[in-house]
């Protein structure tokens, strides 16, 4: 009998700490599969800053660095410039990438740092227990927007892929989701491409993954997937926002 | 032997360069030297000055609040620093820029129209070197030929015209009879 499904070698045997129904596990697996398929485990260096994925250094089977909140792209810049032959990726949440680390994100992108960023957007701060994120939707209730996010009071959410796509240094920006098996397969393809771009020295690649947080959304895992589909995808449309391999008309 | 020298004027008059030339020459002569510039926004067109200390013993403070020698290239620095020259000290003033004389009797004052000499001889921007030529003759701190070699050796071959200019400017200052 042949093995048709196994743990990727880029994942350790450590039991993950994520809540039931959380989609971090899926995305970790997709990243690990991509690393395996590209045969880059031995030269991969991952960077996980503060957020729910802060323990990612326990899960990925490559050299790992834990960074300060928001600073992963700067740390990745330092690593990549010191070790251009290594494959450097960051794994960041929405608060990390789009609030406290916006400057590091935008400037590593516009410099065209040859790194890969996996961006988990779940519209909420998970680790600290459900506070408003930069990507929290208008009307969405969080512990720090208990009456629903009001653009007048708390301001508007930020669409990172759209913004980053305007920068010359960005080789590839795509937003994907993991709410259905078909979308998971598309997400895998995008993550593979983001790593392959780095191997081919094409420059900055980011994959934004719309994800769920059943615990802090107060929903069951299945309800959370539906909520993502009904609320997040209309505000954060899926698609390719920048791909230097494609002409403008071919996008999305 | 220690010389505390203050060179002062406007930004753009080559004040810092003149100080560096003295410090570098001192270093090549085996002296202890320090060069400390004024810095910041005032560098850009405003006042500029630098302190140069030349000594045969280790230098403590690089500051020159009371100079043995003041080289003044404009009126504001003349007004500000002339009273601070040590008794028995020396003043060099560019009298084409400064239309007054020092009233102190306890210092030696030397005047040279360095800026006018420079522009009259088509040596724009080299009033500082004219002044250095005069300074060399009066003080005798450094040998003229060595100093000439020293300031021109730093100029890249691509700017060979500057070598001639500096040479001429230094000679004019050195030949000036006050």
């Amino acid at each position: 009998m042949s093995v048709v499904f196994d743990r990727p070698s880029a994942l350790t045997d450590t039991l993950m700490h994520y809540c039931p129904g959380c989609t971090h596990g899926i995305v970790h697996r997709l990243v690990a599969e991509a690393i395996d398929e590209l045969g880059i485990l031995g030269r991969a260096i991952g960077i996980a800053p503060v957020g729910c994925s802060v323990f990612a250094y326990n899960y990925f089977n490559c050299d790992m660095i834990e960074a300060a909140h928001g600073r992963a792209p700067a740390v990745a810049t330092g690593v990549k410039r010191a070790r251009p032959d290594c494959i450097v990726f960051t794994y960041q949440g929405d608060g990390d990438l789009a609030a406290i680390g916006t400057a590091e994100t935008v400037h590593s992108a516009t410099r065209g740092e040859n790194i890969t960023i996996i961006f988990i957007n779940n519209c909420i701060y998970g680790m600290t227990g459900g506070q408003m994120a930069p990507t929290t939707l208008p009307g969405q209730v969080t512990t720090t927007s208990p009456y629903g996010r009001s653009p007048k009071i708390q301001g508007n959410p930020i669409r990172m892929c759209e913004m980053l796509a305007t920068l010359d240094g960005v080789a590839y920006a795509e937003r994907v989701s993991i709410d259905t098996p078909a979308n998971v397969r598309r997400a895998k393809k995008a993550i593979l491409k983001a790593f392959r771009n780095q191997i081919e020295e094409k420059g900055f690649s980011i994959v934004e993954v719309l994800s769920t947080c059943p615990t802090n959304w107060g929903l069951s895992p299945v309800e959370a997937l539906t909520w993502l589909r009904d609320n997040m995808i209309p505000y954060y449309p899926l698609g390719v926002y920048k791909d230097i391999d494609k002409k403008e008309g071919d996008m999305k | 032997m220690t010389y505390n020298i203050l060179i002062a004027g406007f930004g753009g008059q080559g004040i810092l360069f003149a100080g560096k030339a003295l410090a570098k020459m001192g270093m090549n002569e085996g002296l202890y030297v320090t060069w400390l510039p004024s810095y910041g926004p005032e560098m850009r067109g405003g006042a500029a000055n630098c302190s140069v200390v030349l000594s045969d013993t280790e230098i403590g403070s690089p500051l020159v609040p009371e100079p043995d020698i003041l080289i003044s290239m404009n009126i504001p620095s003349f007004d500000k620093f002339t009273p601070k020259i040590k008794p028995g000290g020396t003043l060099f003033a560019d009298c084409s820029m400064i239309d007054k004389k020092c009233t102190r009797t306890d210092i030696n004052a030397y005047y040279i129209p360095a800026s006018a000499l420079a522009s009259d001889n088509d040596l724009q921007g080299l009033a500082n070197v004219v002044m250095l030529g005069y300074f060399l003759k009066v003080t005798g701190i450094f040998d003229y030929d060595k100093f000439l070699l020293d300031i021109t050796s730093g100029i890249p071959a691509s700017r060979a015209n500057l070598i001639e200019g500096n040479k001429k400017a230094l000679a004019i200052g050195y030949a000036y009879e006050g």
Binding site: I45, D63, R71, V75, A76, R81, A82 | V33, Y39
Partner: protein
């Protein structure tokens, strides 16, 4: 090797390259920008990298990344910029990463001024970041020392896996003096087998991390680090004594203030006052034992600083109340004149 006339800031930059530092990350700020300008010219010619970062915060984190990847890395700034780096400095400590951080101090607080200052002494020696931590702090007083201590800083950082601070000031940074780059002998550096370089399938993966949620584990790691600090205190203290053997009054000063004190001490001696100077070169570890020993013979101490008085606390602690410790300082970017310091020495002498 012939001496070259250089600015202190440039000497730091050249010495960093000589020490094998090919990765510099910084953000412009007066009065230290010559460091990045110099490196921007030189590094590309020697296969190095300079990135002008989007902020001081990004710059220190790029240093963290490069250091984690096993190469020598440096950043430099001046006081307000250094405050921004404090987060990254704490993370460097928590991750046990070597790095060299230069602070060419200017007057504060706030945006302050741009003239020389030593008012970041407390910050550098007590609290450059949050948490239980120490940093080696080196205080050059000549352009030559800007060079030698920069090389030394990289060695110390690698040997003890700690960030090392070069605490300079605007005057030493901007002034020119002759410097000889062959003066320092490099030390032996342990291999960086902890670095993230890609494990290549040949070793266990390396993890660089400062997160430890288990209090017992965190305490253990902090205690281990403090064992290293103890060794640094035992073996790496550096200071200079100038006419202290028979001195009644010993000035304690570092950096540019020590230069001014040397002139003042010489002037006081000419007036028949037995003055001397003890100059800490390492501000941490502080030369406590040297000051305690000097207190056996000296009658009084005078701490001279470009601040309202910060190091004076450490001088007092080192004296253990056995001798009076006076203070003289100017702040905000004002440099004390040797005459002012001499007058203070005379005033103390009159009371002995």
């Amino acid at each position: 090797m012939p001496k070259v006339l250089m600015k202190g800031n440039e000497a730091i930059a050249e010495a960093a390259i000589n020490a094998g530092c090919l990765h510099y990350f910084g953000y412009p700020i007066t009065p230290q920008t010559e460091i990045s300008e110099y490196l921007a010219k030189r590094l590309p010619k020697v296969g190095g990298v300079l990135i002008q970062a989007e902020s001081e915060i990004a710059a220190i984190n790029m240093v963290l990344g490069a250091s984690a990847a096993g190469v020598r890395a440096m950043t430099s700034s001046s006081s307000p910029g250094i405050s921004l780096k404090s987060e990254g400095i704490s993370y460097l400590v928590g991750c046990d990463l070597p790095a060299v951080i230069v602070n060419v101090q200017r007057g504060g607080p706030g945006l302050g001024g741009i003239q020389p200052s030593q008012a970041d002494y407390y910050q550098a020696t007590k609290a450059y970041g949050h948490g239980d931590m120490r940093l080696i702090v080196l205080a050059p007083s000549t352009v030559q020392e800007m060079a030698t201590l920069t090389g030394e800083a990289f060695d110390l950082a690698d040997i003890y896996r700690t960030p090392v601070i070069i605490l300079a000031d605007g005057a030493i940074g901007q002034m020119m003096e002759p410097v000889d780059f062959s003066e320092r002998k490099p030390r032996e550096i342990p291999p960086k087998d902890w670095a993230c370089t890609g494990h290549g399938g040949t070793r266990k993966r390396n993890i660089i991390n400062s997160l430890m949620l288990d209090p017992e584990a965190l305490e253990k790691s902090v205690r281990e680090r403090f064992e290293r600090y103890k060794k640094i205190e035992e073996t790496e203290v550096k200071y200079e004594r100038f006419m202290t053997d028979d001195a009644d009054i010993i000035c304690v000063a570092f950096g540019i203030a020590s230069r001014i004190c040397k002139s003042a001490v010489t002037a006081a001696r000419e007036k028949g006052i037995k003055a001397g100077l003890l100059r800490p070169i390492t501000l941490w570890p502080f030369p406590k034992a040297a000051i305690a020993e000097a207190a056996n013979t000296a009658k009084a101490f005078l701490s001279v600083e470009l601040s309202m008085g910060q190091m004076v606390d450490d001088v007092k602690l080192a004296c253990e109340c056995r001798r009076p410790v006076e203070f003289f300082g100017r702040t905000g970017g004002v440099l004390p004149s040797p005459a002012e310091v001499t007058a203070k020495i005379e005033a103390i002498a009159a009371q002995l």
